[in-house]
Structure formats: C-alpha cells, structure tokens
C-alpha cells in the first residue's frame, strides 16, 4: 500500500503486511514512520492512495457499508481515549452499540460486563473527567470490545499512561488475544511491543524488519516494501 499526501509526502511508501487471524502484532517505529496511518487504513478511517486493504480476502474498497465494518468488525482504541466527555462511562461503552440488534437492556448488560472485565465495576456513572488516565483507557478498551469485534486495533494505547496503568492495559490486550482475538497494537515502546507474538518494525513509511516471537511459519511477517 501507498498513502501519499499533498506535496508528495508518502506516509506509507509501499508496504505489504499480512496479519493472520488470532495474531497479536505490535507495530513499532519512530514517530512519523507511518504506524498510525497503517492502522487507520485497516480501520477504514482512511483509504490508501494505491494498493488495497484485504480483510478476510475482501477489498475494503468494495465494502459498501464501511460504518458497519467499523462498528462490527473492528474495535478501535486511541492514544487519547477519545471518550465523550459529557456522557458517563456506561454511555461511552454503549454508544457503539446503537444501531445494532441489541436492545437497551442488552446494551446495558453488555456494557456492565465489559466494565467489570476491565476492573471498572462501580464506576459506570462517573464522567470521564472523574477517572484517571488508566481508567479512561480501560473505558476505551471496553468500548472497543462492545460489539465483539474480530480485530482489535490500538494506537499507542499506553502512550499517555504511567507504567502501572500501561501494564494493566497490556495485560488486558494479552487476555483478549488469549481468547482468540486478533490484536494489532501500534507503539513506539519496545517494552510494550515485546508482549506481542510478532513485532513489525517501520521507518519512513516502510516495513524494515520483523521479529516473530512465538512464530510458526504462518506468523512469520512479510518484511520490506512491496
């Protein structure tokens, strides 16, 4: 894939990456290397200038309802949480379930389950401003998981957290991965990346290397420019 912006700047300069179902992949590299851009393309928040994102073999350009893809297939966690400041924790988790088949009762039950899962039981009526940074990130993770996505995408999820909170968040990702979820985590922190099955190293919009930590043949990364 290539993603070019105005004046010819290439955020992604010909990358080819395959991520298998159930993998936990960490994408690392210095700031501006294209990690987040790649994540945004996978999340269908942006489109590649050339090339394609194939999900389950289907080109995202041919997906008619990208909202449904983002809602049902992908769970997104941002570095700065991106919670709705005026809505309580519970509503912040439920918000992604509007427009799904779940009733209001089911949405509430699901949100409460997830909040318990991320150790936020009892905090459902608080506003984001009343939570610590780590707690807010865990709300964001609960929200990302609300529609049982197949793919969890996290963009620097521990970037603004202290080490204890960061460890807690990482453990959550590991537990979801252990349950079979595909996790793609963008981080510039090699300590965090070390928790993944596979580390993909990027620089200047290209994949420059990769390490398979638990690798089988299937998880060995495609390395280097296409």
């Amino acid at each position: 894939m290539v993603k070019a912006y105005d004046r010819g700047f290439r955020a992604l300069d010909g990358i080819d990456l395959r991520i298998d179902q159930g993998e936990f992949v960490a994408v690392t590299g210095p700031s501006g290397c294209g990690k987040s851009t790649m994540l945004h393309l996978i999340a269908a928040l942006d489109t590649p200038t050339s090339g394609a994102v194939l999900v389950d073999g289907k080109d995202l350009r041919s997906v008619h309802d990208l909202s449904a893809y983002r809602r049902n297939y992908v769970g997104l966690v941002f570095q700065l949480h991106n919670l709705l400041p005026n809505q309580p924790v519970l509503a912040n988790v439920e918000v992604v379930m509007f427009g799904t088949h779940r009733s209001a009762h089911e949405r509430r039950a699901r949100a409460l389950d997830l909040l318990a899962r991320v150790d936020l039981a009892g905090r459902e009526h608080r506003l984001p401003a009343q939570l610590s940074g780590g707690e807010r990130q865990r709300v964001a993770i609960a929200r990302a998981l609300a529609n049982e996505p197949k793919l969890l995408l996290a963009d620097e999820p521990t970037g603004s957290l202290d080490s204890v909170s960061a460890r807690h968040v990482l453990e959550l990702f590991q537990s979801f991965h252990a349950e079979g979820m595909t996790v793609v985590l963008v981080t510039h922190d090699h300590g965090i990346a070390a928790a993944a099955d596979r580390i993909v190293e990027m620089r200047d919009g290209r994949i420059i290397g990769g390490v398979a930590r638990t690798g089988t043949a299937a998880t060995v990364p495609a390395v280097g420019p296409a």
């Binding site: 945004h40 999340a43 928040l45 942006d46 309802d65 909202s67 449904a68 893809y69 983002r70 809602r71 049902n72 997104l76 941002f78 991106n82 709705l84 400041p85 005026n86 809505q87 309580p88 519970l90 509503a91 439920e94 918000v95 992604v96 509007f98 427009g99 209001a104 949405r107 509430r108 929200r143 529609n147």
Partner: protein, 372 residues
C-alpha cells in the same frame, strides 16, 4: 441507555447552547402564536356582527375596507328582496361608539322594531322601542349588566340621552353586548338616511342557500354574500390585509428563527467536530449522526414551542389590558394557532439544521478526529 436519553444528556451537558436555541424557537413561536390569536380574535369580533341575525346569509357592500363602511341603499334592499328564493331581507345599520373606557367600541344596531322577532331578538324585560322614536333604546342583556342599567334607565348614546325601554337577548354574545335603536334614529345620527350596513337574508323553505346566494351575487354584483366568518374578507378588506400581515410576519419569524438555529448549530458543529468524528469512527452511520443532531433540535423545538405558547398567553393577556386595546382585542385560541406554533418550531428547526446536518454527515472521521 436508550438513544433518546443519550441525546437528552448531550443537550443537558451544553446548557448554554440548548438555552440559546430554545430561546430562538420560543421567541419565534411566541410571535407567531400571539399574532395568530390576536388577529383571529380581531377577525372573530369583526365577523361576529354577521352572526347576530337568524339569517341564512348576510349581504354587504363588496370590497369595502371595513365592514361598517358597507352601504346598501333602499333600492338595493328592494332588489335583494325581489330575488327569487329570498323570503325576507332585514336591513340593519351598524355603528360603533365610545361609551366609556371599558367600552371603547360599543356596537349600536339600528333596526325596525317590526323586524326584531325575525332577527332573532327576544325581549326579556320591558318592551321594544317605538319605530320612529329618537330617544329610546333596547340593551342586550350583557350590555345592560356591564353598564349597570335596566328598564327605565337613561343611557347616553347616539348623541342624546335615551330611555332604556327593554332588555333583549339574541343568544349571541356579540349581539347581547350591543344596543338596538330605531333604524331612522341611527340613520339620522350617522347622516345615512335610507341606508343600511347589512341585510340579513332568510331563504324560502326548500330552496338551497347556495342557489340563492348565487342569484344575489349575479343580480347585485356590487354586493357580496357572506355565509361564514371565513368569507368575511369579501366585505372587509382590512381583514384580508390583516391576514396577509400575519402570514408575512409568520414567515419572517420562521426565517429569522431558522437563521439563528442554523448559526447556533453550525457553531456547535465546529465545537463537536471531534465528538462527531469519533462517533463516525466507531461505526455510527451518517444517518445516525444526522439523527442525533436533528433529534436534539427537535427536542428543543418542542420545548421552545411549549414555552412560546405559554409566553404568548401571558403577552396576549397583557395586550388585552392595554388601555388602547381594552374591549377591542380578544384573544381567540384556536386549534390552528397551536398547530401553527408546532409547525413554526419544527419548520424553523428543520430549516435551520439542514445545512449543519449535511456538513456533519459529510465529516471525514479521521479528519474530524484530528480537528482542533
């Protein structure tokens, strides 16, 4: 959490914006409803005169500015009576006079006493006036009660002191709040000899009113027939102008309100770009984002309509007490006023939220998320 609750919480969180929008809607609705109920009241008061007599329809001069300026002479009245299907046509002269501060527009009706029964007048006390008397009057029972007069009292009107010979009832509040004089006396005082303002027509049994009115309209083209208050504009151009002014003011209020709503929503859109971008990023459809914005506006529209109607009650009550309008302005709260209130609120909200909603729908999630 239900979507509605989510929406309400968003409104509550932005109280200043919500209040600003509600105020704009309230003001527009209050203006529209107040204009509607007061103009409708004026219209009803003016048109009430044609509902006094027990007639199938009323005839007046066509195209006058004010119904009380209508003039039907003896010859026209005779031709009207000769129209096939007309059983009788009672000519009355209607005038107004300031009696006191509480009765600035007191209605005086000149009528021949022989026509009283046919006109639907029942004398409930005393007796009718003499046909050519110049100092006798009958008061409607409401007027007598309001003025504190009874049979034998003296009542100054029509330029002279009159003796109250009787108290009458018509079964019509407007008629019962008036006074009746011998027709020649009112014609003389108003210097309109041989002239009446209106003719109240009763048809022959078995003849359709439509047929007779069509004949009258054909044979007396200088006159017009009125069956209902809504046809009143045929004989009173002031009401036509009034209706046009109300419609124009309503449109203006809606446009101004819509501009305020649109401006506030657009500012709100800039303020909420990141939030809306996030909602799109986590899978909200364009339709749902638009639904959120329009839903918020509609909630405020309904709130604004309710407050606007309430305020219009208060404003109208104040207007009715203004010395210059006492006895003239009577608010008439009709269903159409409330429908117009709701239509105004919803109309201006939809109009105002159209452009901001389209812009919100077209937000690119990633760009919106990075918006500063």
């Amino acid at each position: 959490m239900a979507f509605g609750r989510f929406l309400l919480r968003g409104l509550w969180a932005k109280k200043a914006r919500s209040l600003g929008l509600t105020f704009a809607i309230t003001f527009a609705v209050m203006t529209v409803v107040t204009l509607e109920v007061t103009s409708s009241g004026l219209e009803q008061s003016a048109a009430a005169v044609v509902t006094i007599g027990k007639a199938d329809f009323t005839v007046a001069q066509k195209g006058v500015n004010d119904l009380l300026s209508s003039s039907i002479d003896r010859g026209e009245l005779a031709r009207l009576r000769a129209v096939p299907g007309v059983q009788r046509a009672i000519g009355v002269l209607v005038a107004t006079e300031r009696i006191n501060a509480a009765n600035p527009v007191f209605i005086e009706i000149g009528i021949n006493p022989a026509d009283l029964a046919a006109f639907g007048v029942t004398v409930v006390a005393g007796h009718p006036f003499a046909p050519t008397a110049t100092d006798q009057v009958m008061l409607g029972w409401r007027a007598a009660s309001n003025l504190g007069l009874h049979v034998g009292s003296r009542f100054h009107a029509d330029g002279t002191w009159n003796t109250v010979t009787g108290i009458y009832s018509t079964g019509n509040s407007f008629g019962d709040s008036a006074a009746m004089f011998p027709l020649p006396a009112v014609q003389g005082y108003n210097r309109l000899p041989g002239t009446v303002t209106l003719a109240f027509v009763k048809d022959d049994p078995g003849v359709s009113v439509h047929t007779v009115t069509a004949r009258v309209d054909h044979e007396l083209p200088e006159l017009t027939t009125i069956q209902t208050a809504s046809q009143f504009g045929r004989a009173d151009l002031n009401l036509v102008y009034l209706r046009a002014a109300v419609t124009g003011s309503t449109i203006l209020a809606i446009v101004i309100g819509a501009v305020i709503v649109g401006n506030t929503m657009l500012l709100s859109l800039f303020e909420r770009t990141r939030e809306l971008g996030l909602l799109r990023a986590v899978g909200w459809t364009r339709r749902r984002v638009v639904g959120l914005l329009v839903g918020e506006s509609l909630v405020l529209a309904i709130l604004g309509a309710a407050v606007g109607v309430g305020l219009s009650f208060a404003v109208t009550a104040l207007l009715e007490r203004l010395p210059a309008l006492v006895g003239i302005l009577h608010a008439n709260y009709t269903t159409s006023a409330f429908i117009r209130a709701l239509a105004t609120a919803v109309g201006m909200t939809i109009l105002g939220s159209l452009y901001p909603s389209v812009r919100a729908a077209l937000l690119v999630p990633l760009r919106a998320l990075n918006y500063d």
